[in-house]
């Protein structure tokens, strides 16, 4: 029995100038994995490939031990999928939509569905088109969880949601993952959400894998370096993932903390990066000139 809920091997897909080129990563069973990357990195394409919506040109995807072929659909009995936009029939009420979906799932739990609808204060008879983005997302979550999925796949679920519900959602995920048989794959570009809940992080940039590792190891391995500009020469720059220079100094991301400390010694300050900083410097690469801090104060 595999220890991974999802295995992606050598995935290749082209869309015009965009390409996923030989992407491989795993989603460990029983944990929350964050799929991060800037817009256009390929996160949604990967998730759609896992859900059988996008057909890979090459490569192999296995979900809970089932090979994803694009033809078979029964493996989705064990998946709760939450899209970044509403995929339901907008002109139906939430109750009507539920009546369409429920019969397809062997383990549909009407009581659980009702519990979530009440928890989220969703009126069953309200038409989906009349719901706010937050209500639609809550409804999608209720639908996804009501059939007891082993794997919850969410594509940008927190984008556009207010901070209160974002926090509630993260609490809900934490509750769901208490069952060690459950797994979450969570795509987002809002990395602060993952700072709170993720166990593993897979980072995509321009269709390529930057890393796929435990969050703590990533945050231990990478380091933010701050110092004066005199410390930067071409050899030093090559050691850095990304550099941001200001009139008074520089701030950079290095992917090997020990190597960075050996390189700069006591001449620089070292700080633990956030996932957002790792994503920012990796996506920008090279030199980033700025007169103010990109993340605010």
């Amino acid at each position: 029995m595999s220890m991974n809920a999802v295995e992606v091997e050598e995935l290749v897909k082209h869309y015009g100038s965009f390409a996923l080129s030989g992407l491989s990563f795993t989603v460990p069973k029983g944990y929350i994995t964050g799929l991060i990357g800037p817009n256009g990195a390929g996160k949604s394409t990967v998730i759609k490939a896992i859900m059988g919506m996008v057909l890979p040109e090459e490569g192999r995807i296995t979900v809970l031990g089932n090979a994803v072929t694009g033809k078979e659909g029964s493996y989705k009995q064990q998946i709760g999928y939450i899209s970044d936009e509403s995929i339901y029939y907008e002109y139906l009420s939430m109750e009507q939509m539920k009546r369409i979906v429920a019969p397809f799932y062997d383990r549909w739990d009407e009581a659980l569905f009702t519990k979530y609808m009440e928890l989220f204060e969703l009126p069953k008879r309200k038409k989906i088109k009349d719901c706010s983005k937050g209500m639609k997302m809550k409804f999608a979550i209720a639908m996804a969880l009501a059939h007891h999925p082993k794997l919850l796949i969410m594509d940008e679920p927190t984008a556009g949601l207010d901070p209160v519900f974002r926090r509630e959602l993260l609490d809900l995920l934490a509750e769901y993952i208490l069952d060690e048989n459950n797994t979450i794959l969570f795509s987002t570009h809002l990395t602060t959400d993952l700072d709170r809940v993720a166990d593993y992080v897979t980072f995509l940039n321009r269709g390529e894998l930057v890393f796929s590792d435990s969050k703590d190891e990533v945050l231990e391995r990478y380091v933010i370096v701050k110092g004066s500009r005199e410390l930067l020469d071409p050899d030093v720059r090559r050691e850095l993932v990304g550099v941001r220079e200001t009139a008074v100094g520089f701030e950079a991301l290095a992917k090997d903390q020990e190597r960075a400390q050996a390189l700069f010694g006591a001449n620089a300050l070292f700080e633990r990066p956030t996932l957002e900083e790792i994503m920012y410097y990796t996506a920008k690469g090279g030199n980033v000139n700025a007169s103010s801090h990109p993340f605010g104060s």
Binding site: K48, M53, I87, P103, F104
Partner: protein
């Protein structure tokens, strides 16, 4: 099989919002209002087919369907089953309406089964052509296809009307009526063959589609 039933049920549920439109068509084009109600035989089943398919036309809805725990081929098959049942119901309703109108106007209520079979067969062939084109053109192309198909339905309605009233069609109609078993088998075989080929083509197209 149960999944197929759920998908067909879904199509019926989605079509409910168009019932008022279909009702208006039924009344306006029936023999109760028109002197000749025969165009309804082409128009109503054609409208039902177009509406049933287009209920799922939006990309998010296609994504929803593909995310259900069923094979893609079932999604295609269910469209054929739904369309067939709905067209059959629509056709039966047309017969009922026009027969009722004839009775009200004091005309003969006899139904020429040969002609009816011929018209329904033509509609099945229309469906067998329409659905693969719908899948092939995809979401944006289907909008243009619908405009073209509504025109075809209108012209087809006139043609069916002409067919029913044309004196030249009487011998053909009589021969069908005189050999009902042979005509039935030939018609059913043609219809089934057209639908099977059409389904296989649609399934092949949809199996390769990214959503």
């Amino acid at each position: 099989m149960p999944h197929l039933i759920h998908l067909v049920r879904k199509d019926f549920l989605l079509l409910q919002r168009y019932l008022w439109l279909l009702f208006i068509y039924m009344v306006v084009f029936s023999g109760f209002v028109q002197s000749d109600g025969s165009p309804l035989y082409g128009m109503l089943p054609g409208m039902v087919l177009i509406l049933a398919l287009n209920a799922d036309m939006r990309l998010p809805n296609q994504q929803f369907l593909v995310n259900l725990p069923i094979r893609r081929s079932y999604l295609v098959l269910s469209k054929y089953v739904s369309a067939f049942i709905l067209m059959l119901l629509a056709f039966a309703l047309c017969m009922l309406l026009n027969t009722g109108a004839n009775a009200v106007h004091g005309q003969s209520t006899a139904v020429n089964l040969g002609q009816m079979l011929g018209i329904f067969l033509a509609q099945l062939v229309f469906m067998a052509i329409y659905i693969p084109i719908y899948y092939w053109l995809g979401l944006k192309g289907a909008q243009y296809l619908n405009v073209a198909m509504i025109i075809v339905v209108m012209i087809g309605s006139q043609l069916s009307s002409s067919l029913l009233s044309d004196a030249d069609a009487v011998p053909l109609s009589s021969s069908i009526t005189n050999h009902p078993v042979a005509a039935g088998i030939l018609g059913a075989s043609t219809g089934i063959l057209a639908l099977v080929v059409s389904y296989l083509v649609s399934r092949m197209i949809f199996a390769r589609r990214d959503l």
